[in-house]
């Protein structure tokens, strides 16, 4: 009876594990992202970044083949996130976890990491505190505070004394509001009103009316990238705020490249701060864009999550190199503390302490390039920006 069970168990586990890991030396990397549903485009960018990196740097490290396993997590859902991560670790035997678009999903995974002996490289989730929840987390994206921070000063220097902040009412929105207020008031300005809009807002005219009534001369806005940004920018123009000369600042989520064809001339001249522009002028970026566009299929769809994934893969490759294929999460993470390299976005470094990426933040302006296509044109660089959200903790 017991023997029978064992045989059954062995047969089943052999079936489940597949034939690969038994003899070939393949290192598996599990990537969790929104590959379907409302955020499918961002997930697609994850995939494009990963594939671009592997196309440019080979599919093996030190003779170890890399295999990527994608798992779909269409919307923020921590329970499912945890289930997927656990399945990737336990069943698929991945040595590295990557991806993760939403903060709560990352929060659900981090408690597993030390037991799983698996590092998690976050390609996007942008709340500062994630890296504090486990020493095995490394982040190659950005935090909202990091990208927002320079805008306070820029706004004040451009003559805005009174500003209104308008953000989507959820974690990153609140982070952005706080970061801007802090920087703006430190520079000497005054935030006259702070508006938090429900996530599902589709008509922004009443908000714009409120902006107008507030008497502010500058508007700071944060909306997650996606369909509503279009309505927001259009409402800004159509209600005459643009004409009235009110200055509009936002982190780059608002003008992600994949939305620009739709935003079009409505967004022209809009100034945003961000860590990456697809139009960044560097040889590294040219190579990256070419490879990533090939992977994603259309130049219009390429956007910032791809570079997070691309650099995330760089970190994972370095980790594999350091551990030589052995599963040792601590060693892997230690190997990338302080790692610096030239990313498509510019020079970057993994802070040894926080394991968050330090990078340039650019002020960009939506403009037409030589082909008449709208791009985020970099006009000013703020080098070596750490995450101010973490600095304060």
């Amino acid at each position: 009876m017991i023997a029978g069970k064992r045989i059954l168990g062995a047969a089943v586990s052999a079936m489940l594990m597949g034939s690969v890991s038994a003899y070939a030396d393949t290192i598996k990397v599990g990537i969790i992202g929104p590959f379907s549903g409302p955020f499918a485009l961002q997930g697609k960018n994850f995939q494009a970044g990963v594939e671009a990196y592997m196309a440019l740097n080979g599919k093996s490290v030190k003779g170890h083949d890399i295999e990527i396993i994608y798992r779909d997590l269409p919307a923020a859902n921590p329970a499912q996130s945890r289930a997927l991560a656990q399945e990737l670790v336990v069943k698929e035997k991945v040595q590295y976890l990557g991806g993760v678009y939403f903060t709560p999903d990352a929060m659900a995974i981090t408690p597993l990491l030390s037991q799983a002996n698996t590092p998690l490289v976050i390609f996007n989730a942008a709340t500062s505190a994630i890296v504090n929840t486990s020493p095995l987390v490394v982040r190659t994206s950005f935090t909202t505070a990091q990208t927002t921070n320079p805008l306070g000063k820029i706004a004040f220097n451009e003559g805005v004394k009174k500003a209104i902040t308008v953000v989507s009412d959820y974690g990153p929105g609140v982070d952005a509001e706080n970061a801007f207020r802090k920087a703006f008031e430190a520079a000497g300005g005054q935030v006259v009103e702070a508006v938090r809009m429900p996530m599902n807002t589709t008509d922004f005219s009443p908000i714009m009316q409120r902006v107008r009534d507030s008497g502010a001369t500058g508007l700071f806005a944060f909306l997650p990238s996606g369909p509503p940004t279009l309505g927001f920018v259009k409402a800004f123009n159509e209600t005459g705020l643009k004409k009235a000369g009110i200055k509009f600042y936002a982190p780059g989520d608002l003008t992600q490249e994949s939305d620009l064809p739709a935003l079009g001339e409505a967004a022209e001249g809009l100034k945003t701060s961000f860590h990456y522009s697809v139009a960044h002028d560097s040889p590294e970026n040219k190579k990256f864009v070419e490879a990533a566009v090939k992977a994603i299929g259309s130049a219009d769809q390429l956007s910032f999550p791809a570079v997070g994934a691309y650099d995330g893969m760089h970190v994972i490759y370095k980790m594999i190199e350091a551990t030589d294929g052995k599963q040792d999460a601590k060693k892997a993470v230690d190997a990338v503390r302080g790692l610096s390299w030239t990313s498509p976005r510019g020079p970057v470094r993994i802070e040894p302490e926080t394991r968050h990426i330090t990078q340039n933040i650019y002020l960009r302006e939506v403009a037409k390039d030589a082909d008449g296509k709208y791009i985020n044109k970099e006009i000013q660089t703020f080098p070596d920006q750490k995450d101010p959200g973490l600095a304060t903790q």
Binding site: S36, G37, P38, A40, L41, K44, D169, V195, R196, M197, P198, N200, T201, T202, D203, S205, P206, I207, Q209, R210, D213, G226, P227, P228, L230, G231, K234, N237, E238, T239, G240, K243, S258, D259, P261, A262, G264, G297, S298, D300, Q301
Partner: protein, 287 residues
Amino acid sequence: MQTILSIAIDALAFGMVLFIICIGLSLTMGLMRVVNLAHGAFAMIAGYIASYAARDLGLGYAASIFLAIIGTIVISIPLERFLYRRIYGSPELTQVLMTIGLTFCVIGITNYFMGPTLKIIPLPEALSQPLDVGFRTIAAHRLFVIACGAAVAGGLWYLIERTTFGIKLRATVDNAAMSDALGVRTQVVYAISFAIAIGLAALGGVVGAEFLPIEPYYALRYMVTFLVVVSVGGAGSIPGALIACLVLGFVDTTGRYLMPDFGNFFFYAAVILIVCLFPRGFLGRAQ
């Protein structure tokens, strides 16, 4: 005062977009007793067709709208014949299951063929300009949408209240068995009504694209809003739907202006209040 006027005109525009899209759903739910959760999917399909027509075929705005409406109706015909006819008269939850399944399929297929990015339908020059109306500037497009909504309301009113078809339709809704006994081909009436409902969804999807941008997830994203609006108005009633859209549009808009932090509270509290006060919707037909 200016602010009130200003809010009112925004509320009107937003309400009209909801109205154009939802009135079709209201007709299918109230007149044909089909809870068609895939209604938004048809609006989305129309948006894609219009975007393709305008951007890739270079057609004008009006031609794109026309093509989108026709195209969506053409797509809906086989669906009506092979899927919807199976669920006429089924329990509501079975209808929900089927139409959600259909919505998933439409989303998946759209994502596959059209990609996940936003699609825009370029507006003609005349509509894309901000217009100064004295106390504020307003996008000409918003006035166009209001006009469309009014035209739809008026056109439908005329169709349903004044034409023989409308009289037959109302008779069928009032008492289908008796209409049949008087020689009204109720199946044909239903098929035409379904096509009209889909056509209106298509029109709403296209002219409302400035408010509800076209992307694959559109079909699910606004499903709840549509369902709520229709129920509040009372399924099957044109004036009911109009009142619901304007009232909810107004509550939503002013709520977002006055207390943006609690915008959703306002909206859903209003919904609960209205539903408790008018359990059949503002002007609903008795079940």
